[in-house]
Subunit: 194 residues, 2 copies
């Protein structure tokens, strides 16, 4: 637990070796999840591919599912910057397109499954539960706030969640991920109702 | 595998000892899932509580998750008969109330989690995937067909799925199960839009 390798993935020195190791760990998780699905990835494999000690991964994340969910949420936020098109219709349209496309991809589907597995009622990590949805709610809030500042008529945040995100998630969950034309119809219907 | 106990849970003699054993097995599963959540139930425990051989459970269902999902779908269909109130608004209102109440209960939440676990992309039982949603789609289809026969204006089946069932499921998934007033607002919004 006190080896050099363990130190290398600690949180003490952001920007240096720690940041490089975290990047390597996250890349290893992304590649492994894309290759075989989140359910078949172990800490030992992540450690081997990232070139760090498995013990240090356990110390920092405790369980491989916690690590996978952290990577999934990180991808959600950083690889897909929030659209800022100048109108709510444009923002929601681009946002829904990106989510739908992600849920149709093997990697996106695997990360979604990882997030759902963490959100499950019987899961041992209640702190992580709803974390991904919290980020989505923050994204919706930011888009609505900008629209309000522009003087646009806006739906309630809960309506965006219930009538845009929920259909995309539920269809993905049961193996029928939405195509882009459906995503766009959901956006139009949401805005027409508000 | 060829013991009397094994025979007793085979499919050969419906209505007799097989049916009684199936009922005992389903009751044992329901009780165990309610007590501890679907993730912590084993075939051995189900076998012990139901008074049958674990080997015969493995022979018939293969995996405890397959058995739990079958019980979950059975409960969905038989313990909650489809409402028939004479109007689509009444039917959907009662249907949504029942689903929301179930998702708020520990037992219903556990069975929902079991269904979701089976629906997950990485799951080893692709045949079971989407099975529960298929039953829900059949229920929606039956309510819409009756409404059409009465000459009522009806939403598309996909809209009931996307704007009534999906919000209830997504909220339950992330630990915010819907209360009945929300379920009723979803029904009103759906019917107003169609």
């Amino acid at each position: 637990m006190d080896s050099k390798k363990s130190d290398a993935v600690g949180k003490a020195r952001p920007g240096g070796r720690t940041a490089r190791n975290t990047a390597a760990i996250f890349e290893a998780v992304t590649a492994l999840v894309a290759e075989r699905g989140h359910g078949a990835v172990t800490m030992a494999e992540v450690a081997e591919r990232a070139g760090v000690a498995a013990t240090s991964l356990y110390r920092r994340w405790g369980d491989v599912r916690v690590l996978i969910t952290e990577v999934a949420v990180d991808q959600l936020i950083h690889e897909r910057p929030l659209p800022d098109t100048g109108s709510l219709a444009g923002d929601l349209s681009a946002w829904a397109s990106t989510i739908a496309a992600s849920l149709r991809s093997p990697e996106g589907a695997s990360f979604f499954a990882a997030i759902v597995a963490t959100a499950m009622p019987q899961d041992a990590n209640p702190a992580a539960r709803g974390e991904a949805l919290k980020r989505r709610i923050e994204q919706i809030g930011a888009m609505l706030q900008r629209a309000e500042a522009r003087g646009e008529k806006t739906p309630a945040l809960a309506d965006v969640l219930d009538h845009l995100l929920a259909p995309l998630y539920t269809r993905a969950l049961f193996g029928m991920p939405a195509h882009d034309d459906l995503a766009q119809r959901l956006v139009k219907r949401l805005l027409a109702a508000s």
